[in-house]
């Protein structure tokens, strides 16, 4: 059996099968990227924050544009070479095409990496700080300090260095949910506690009742009300010997954990098994009671409406679940339901700081709450030891600042009918609470002066309109955003004691090709000039923080989604073209036209990928 038109074109359509297929596929790809572009437009139109315009370094994007266009040309040459049956030429041009794809991805990787290392903080007054986060270390004595680089932090401290965007909490007790406790987090906590010579042990005796199959509540049953406590006490006493009896007396999978047992995940897992068994036992018992209740209700109240029957049929906790005892203390009814323990509590002895990632946190941690809740229902609490330093530690985000953005703050001020400049100058960063406020006042002074100069320059150049207002004014971005170029510029000027307006001031500005993929914190000159000042944003001032990842805002979200999907298309296309280059010599010998067809549709796809980038570059980098 042979499928027709795989190699030759059908006469009336003029196409071979895979060409029809690829055009259809591309139509659907157009809808895919069309959907994403529509998403971009939608998000940008409805953005309620200053959309980052021209926020990305243009040079790598521009190079990538030419790289892709070039590869689109060479893939056509490769196809033409195959049509002319010149294998060698095909190899060369296809090789260039794939090399271009590789180069594109490398440049993309450099861009991505820079964003992944770049910290941003939104403060509660909507000032935005960008920079490189410092590294913290927990010292032997439990003190926390931070350093510019990972290496310095490593040298100074005992534990693993951590980026200062983490939360530090010194718990007295930690409660784990036996069902939900997350193994890697427990391991991480144990590791940190071990490093700081601290132990995590259970705070009290705990009994877990499992699945009790025969619980008839008769005289022979060992678990009659009064006896239960006795039995428990006996097991506590005989612990070690009595473990076998546990299952018989308290049901399958039941468990006794004495106080002082050290935390490990195996323990939690055993507790989980017991809890789940007990829960299943309870569910079964209660279901049976409820079924029986309904049977009776339908007998005695057949005429009533359903919603009137329901309250009668409901399980009566007082009579149906509580244990009822006769004079001799024998259980006569109820309480086939066991009590469930769903959390295991551990003491941290002595309390030591734990470094907690923000992604672990369930809801914002505040110092006055005295606890931190994690997403796996683990609760770290300061307990009564709060006076002895337990609880939330100062967890500032410490960074070397390479941009300060007041645009959002200005937007909010304008919405509230206030003068933006005044609001900005009253912000925390310029206040005495910020121990580095001097640096920032200096920078802001220069910046304001420079913007003043710019305003004058524009007014002189473009003149004023009929109402006497200048025709052109500095943009919001010029006014309210201090970029890394500005910071370097001002630091250079400071060294030469120049101010805006002085001769030679403007020449000190970094050129647009400087800083290939953004500010370079490792640059000698920047380091020496101390161009990127330090800042410690206290925990309670941080309203949101993130790297420049999709989390930071919807612009970066759509940027990563669009370029990421496009990148996947580049990789996929390169793999297919690579297959034609490296593994298709056999097909070339057997049926060169077929291979040419394949390269043709591969090339069509490659053109599409190129076309997508031609749309992406302007909307993400230039607009």
């Amino acid at each position: 059996m042979e499928i027709p038109y795989t190699v030759t074109a059908r006469k009336d359509t003029g196409l071979f099968n895979s060409k029809v297929g690829i055009w259809l596929f591309l139509a659907s790809e157009v809808m895919l990227f069309g959907g994403l572009f529509s998403g971009y437009v939608f998000l940008r139109i409805y953005a309620d924050y200053p959309w980052p315009e021209r926020a990305l370094p243009i040079v790598p994007g521009l190079i990538n544009t030419f790289v892709l266009i070039g590869s689109s040309v060479t893939v056509v040459f490769a196809w033409a070479a195959l049509k002319m049956r010149e294998w060698r030429r095909f190899q060369i041009f296809m090789g260039i095409t794939i090399a271009c794809a590789g180069m594109f991805m490398v440049l993309k990787g450099i861009e991505y990496k820079a964003k992944w290392e770049h910290q941003a903080v939104r403060m509660d007054d909507f000032a935005i700080i960008e920079g490189h986060a410092h590294y913290g270390a927990v010292m032997e004595n439990g003190e926390v300090d931070h350093f510019h680089t990972k290496l310095e932090a490593k040298k100074a401290g005992g534990g693993k260095p951590f980026k200062t965007n983490k939360i530090l909490f010194r718990p007295a007790t930690i409660d784990f949910s036996v069902v939900r406790a997350h193994e890697p987090w427990i391991a991480e906590m144990l590791e940190q506690a071990g490093k700081r010579k601290s132990k995590l042990v259970t705070s009290g005796d705990v009994f877990f009742y499992g699945h009790i199959e025969d619980y008839s509540g008769t005289e022979s049953d060992p678990l009659t009300g009064k006896d239960r406590a006795k039995q428990e006490a006996k097991i506590v006493k005989e612990f070690g010997k009595a473990e076998e009896n546990l299952a018989r007396k308290f049901g399958k999978n039941s468990l006794y954990i004495p106080a002082g047992t050290p935390l490990d995940y195996g323990l939690i897992k055993k507790a989980r098994k017991a809890y789940i068994a007990g829960r299943a036992h309870n569910a079964e018992t209660r279901t049976a009671i409820l079924k029986e209740n309904w049977r009776r209700v339908k007998e005695i109240l057949p005429e009533k409406e359903y919603w009137e029957q329901a309250p009668v049929a409901k399980i009566d906790a007082a009579t149906q679940l509580d244990e009822q005892f006769d004079d001799q203390g024998n259980c006569v009814s109820g309480s086939k339901v066991v009590s469930l323990v769903s959390t295991l509590s551990f003491r941290m002895d002595p309390p030591q700081p734990l470094v907690i990632k923000r992604s672990w946190i369930k809801r914002p941690v505040k110092a006055k709450d005295g606890k931190a809740e994690l997403r796996d229902d683990t609760t770290l609490s300061a307990g009564d030891d709060q006076d002895q330093g337990a609880g939330l530690l100062a967890s500032p985000v410490a960074l070397s600042v390479d941009a300060i953005d007041f645009r959002w703050m200005a937007q909010k001020a304008e919405e509230a009918g206030k003068e933006p400049m005044e609001v900005i100058e009253q912000s925390w960063i310029f206040s005495k609470d910020n121990k580095h406020h001097g640096d920032y006042e200096q920078i802001w002074k220069v910046h304001k002066k420079r913007i003043g100069e710019l305003e004058q320059e524009l007014a002189d150049k473009y003149g004023k309109d009929a109402e006497g207002k200048p025709k052109r004014v500095p943009t919001e971005t010029d006014r309210y955003r201090v970029t890394w170029q500005d910071l370097v510029h001002y630091a250079r000027a400071k060294k030469d004691s120049l101010m805006p307006g002085d001769a030679g001031f403007d020449e000190l500005r970094p050129k647009f090709w400087d800083g290939f993929a953004g500010p370079n914190h490792k640059d000698e000159e920047i380091h020496k000039l101390h161009a990127f000042p330090e800042l410690e944003v206290p925990h309670h001032k941080v309203s949101m923080q993130s790297m420049f990842t999709p989390k930071w805002n919807t612009y970066y979200a759509i940027y990563f989604t669009l370029t990421g999907l496009h990148g996947l298309h580049v990789i996929g296309g390169a793999i297919v073209l690579g297959y034609f280059l490296f593994f298709s010599k056999g097909l070339y010998r057997r049926n060169p036209e077929w291979l040419a067809n394949r390269v043709e549709i591969g090339g069509l796809f490659w053109h599409f990928v190129d076309l997508v980038w031609i749309f992406l570059f302007p909307i993400l980098y230039l607009m």
């Binding site: 059996m1 042979e2 027709p4 038109y5 006469k11 009336d12 196409l15 071979f16 099968n17 029809v20 297929g21 259809l24 596929f25 659907s28 809808m31 895919l32 069309g34 959907g35 994403l36 998403g39 939608f42 998000l43 953005a47 309620d48 924050y49 069902v179 997350h182 987090w185 789940i276 829960r279 299943a280 309870n282 569910a283 079964e284 209660r286 279901t287 409820l290 079924k291 359903y306 919603w307 009137e308 029957q309 049929a313 409901k314 923000r358 946190i361 369930k362 809801r363 914002p364 997403r375 796996d376 949101m544 990842t549 999709p550 989390k551 805002n553 919807t554 979200a557 989604t561 999907l565």
Partner: protein, 627 residues
């Protein structure tokens, strides 16, 4: 295929295919017919599972305070019951989970694979007279992607989070936070739904490309566009809908996946607050409306993806059994093309209540009313096709004829919903549920059942049993209506579609109060147990089908020849069951697809493949060989 061609390529598949080992022939198969059967059986299993979920939900609606009966709850383990049921009763969470998965399974894993993929795969290449699909291996990949996607979704029932719970539409930001407590978001039901969806979308995408290429490039000699059976036209339009409507859903799925896993805010407005986590630590600035637009851009064409294959089956069965041509073949073809186009510009009628504004609502109201025109043309043509025919009421014909009024009810009850003002009242009530279930269950499913009974002889060489067929059909017809008609009434009385206790909790709170709304609920709440009874009877009615379906393979009445219905389209020109490669002769189409009861031709049918007799000058123009 010529002998030279096969010799030239050195490997002749034809000689070997009979020796293929079992797993290659039936499991890793590239044969369009086997893949069609795989799709069909898998889809039927998913339909049964979706039906089961519905029965649990219907129990909860009728008897919300009672534990699930043993015949529904035996399937769950004790631990699962302890986690998801409260004293054996269905909880709100569990109801939501079953509701979301019922919708998803029925739409994406049941009806589309059964209608488009199973029938499309088996019948289309036969009807256009070709050997297989254009890309057989891609076809196989489609099926396996579909299976993996479906199993991924269903696996989440057994995860800590349970399966997705935010409705089959998965609106953000609700769905963004669903299962937010799960530490590894990739193991959360909602994320699994999205991942499964990515598989399903890839599957339908490959399927659509394959179908369209096959229809465009592989038609047999003489099979011009207007000689294509209506079935193939429906597949062509469906293919385009899948091809172009699914990608925006993929965009929505990717964005929601990003929101859930890397913390982006595509669909999260600024300053969002939840009771679980307080003010969300996310950037905000996104738009929930964007999700709805992207979703419904798929969602509405998807309705026609469900519907068109069913109409296609019915349109094939009616001419065969009335022994007369399909009335208005050309208008029907144009209608379906226009329908396909219009289905892309009506999506926001699902969103009247989002506050997108009256201007936009008016536009979508207009297009929505417009789309009823081609739908009515299709339905009317099929009804008129019955006129004056000598109808054979065999089992497929019963289903096909029942499809017409049932789909009619579904369609007509949709008209009020098209209007913005009426929709304000009916939105999210049982009226909507009744409306679209009338379209999908007694409508589309009846059409597909008709198709199963109709093509079963071609697939197996045996007829399905008539008595069991009647035992399947009549109770199904009755109980479908017992189940769905009261929904329309309840909906108009204000029953909300998300009441997991069927309004009972609402009523017990409102009891004694003078709340008018509460009183209308009290008046119609008694329909709940009746509908639930209907659902359970409907389940019983499927048992004869199940028996019939499996037993007839072995003991059904053998067909008299390869064309047992005396039909005219090309699938009946093959041996039974069709071998790999389908046709045993050089097949060509010499005339239109529905040449029944022609006066100038003896016998009451004139098959497409029958060469015109040489002694009579052929009335038809000589076939233009495509190549």
């Amino acid at each position: 295929m010529s002998a030279e061609a096969s010799a030239e390529h050195g490997h002749d598949h034809d000689d070997h295919h009979h020796d293929l080992p079992f797993y290659k022939k039936y499991i890793w198969s590239t044969d369009h017919k086997v893949i069609g059967i795989q799709y069909g059986i898998t889809a039927l299993l998913f339909l049964a599972f979706g039906f089961f979920l519905m029965m649990v939900m219907r129990w909860s609606i009728a008897y919300p305070e009672e534990p699930l009966p043993g015949y529904l709850s035996w399937i769950f383990s004790d631990e699962w019951k302890a986690r998801w049921l409260q004293d054996g009763r269905v909880t709100g969470d569990t109801y939501n989970m079953f509701g979301a998965m019922h919708g998803t399974i029925m739409v994406f894993l049941g009806i589309v694979p059964l209608g488009f993929a199973a029938f499309g795969n088996f019948v289309t290449p036969l009807q256009i007279g070709t050997v297989d699909m254009a890309f057989p291996r891609l076809n196989m990949v489609s099926y396996w992607l579909y299976l993996v996607g479906g199993l991924t979704m269903c696996a989440s029932f057994f995860m800590e989070s349970g399966a997705a719970k935010s409705g089959w539409t998965n609106y953000s930001p609700l769905a963004n936070f669903a299962d937010g407590q799960i530490v590894n978001q990739f193991l959360a039901g909602q994320t699994q739904w999205l991942l499964g969806m990515v598989f399903l979308i890839s599957s339908s995408l490959l399927g659509a490309v394959n179908f369209l290429t096959t229809l465009i490039n592989l038609r047999a000699k003489g099979m011009t566009w207007m000689r294509m059976p209506f079935f193939c036209w429906a597949m062509l339009v469906t293919g385009f809908l899948l091809l172009l409507a699914f990608p925006p859903l993929e965009v929505a799925a990717i964005m929601q996946l990003m929101d859930r896993t890397v913390g982006s805010s595509f669909f999260m407005p600024s300053g969002l607050y939840t009771s679980g986590a307080g003010v969300i630590e996310a950037s905000g600035g996104g738009s929930p409306l964007l999700y709805q637009h992207l979703f419904w851009f798929l969602g509405h064409p998807e309705v026609y993806v469900l519907l068109l294959p069913a109409i296609a089956c019915v349109a094939e069965i009616i001419p065969v059994n009335t022994r007369k041509p399909l009335w208005g073949y050309k208008p029907m073809v144009w209608s379906i093309v226009i329908l396909g186009f219009l289905s892309f510009i009506v999506w926001a009628h699902h969103m009247y209540l989002t506050g997108m504004g009256p201007v936009i609502s008016t536009w979508f109201q207009t297009t929505t009313v417009l789309i009823s025109v081609p739908s009515v043309i299709l339905l009317t043509s099929m009804i008129v096709s019955l006129w004056g025919g000598s109808i054979r009421f065999n089992v497929p014909m019963l289903w096909a004829v029942a499809f017409l009024p049932m789909f009619g009810i579904g369609g007509l009850t949709g008209l009020p919903l098209a209007f913005n003002l009426v929709d304000l009242h009916l939105h999210d009530t049982y009226y909507v549920i009744g409306h679209f279930h009338y379209v999908v269950a007694p409508g589309i499913l009846f059409g597909l059942f008709a198709g199963i009974y109709h093509w079963y002889p071609k697939i197996t060489g045996r007829h399905m049993d008539t008595f069991l067929g009647h035992l399947h059909f009549w109770p199904s017809l009755v109980f479908m209506n017992v189940l769905f008609f009261p929904m329309l009434v309840q909906g108009m009385a204000g029953f909300h579609r998300r009441w997991y206790n069927g309004g009972d909790a609402y009523l017990s709170k409102a009891a004694g109060s003078e709340n008018i709304f509460g009183n209308t609920v009290a008046e119609w709440i008694h329909l709940n147990p009746i509908m639930t009874f209907g659902a359970f009877m409907l389940a019983l009615a499927q048992i004869p089908f199940f028996i019939n379906f499996w037993l007839s393979i072995f003991v059904g009445k053998k067909i008299k020849n390869d064309n047992p219905y005396d039909a005219t389209t090309l699938e009946w020109a093959t041996p039974t069951p069709p071998p790999h490669g389908n046709f045993t002769f050089d097949v060509a189409a010499y005339r239109g697809p529905y040449e029944y009861s022609r006066e100038d031709h003896e016998g009451d049918f004139y098959p497409q493949w029958e060469e015109p007799k040489r002694d009579k000058p052929a009335k038809e123009p000589k076939p233009e060989p495509a190549q």
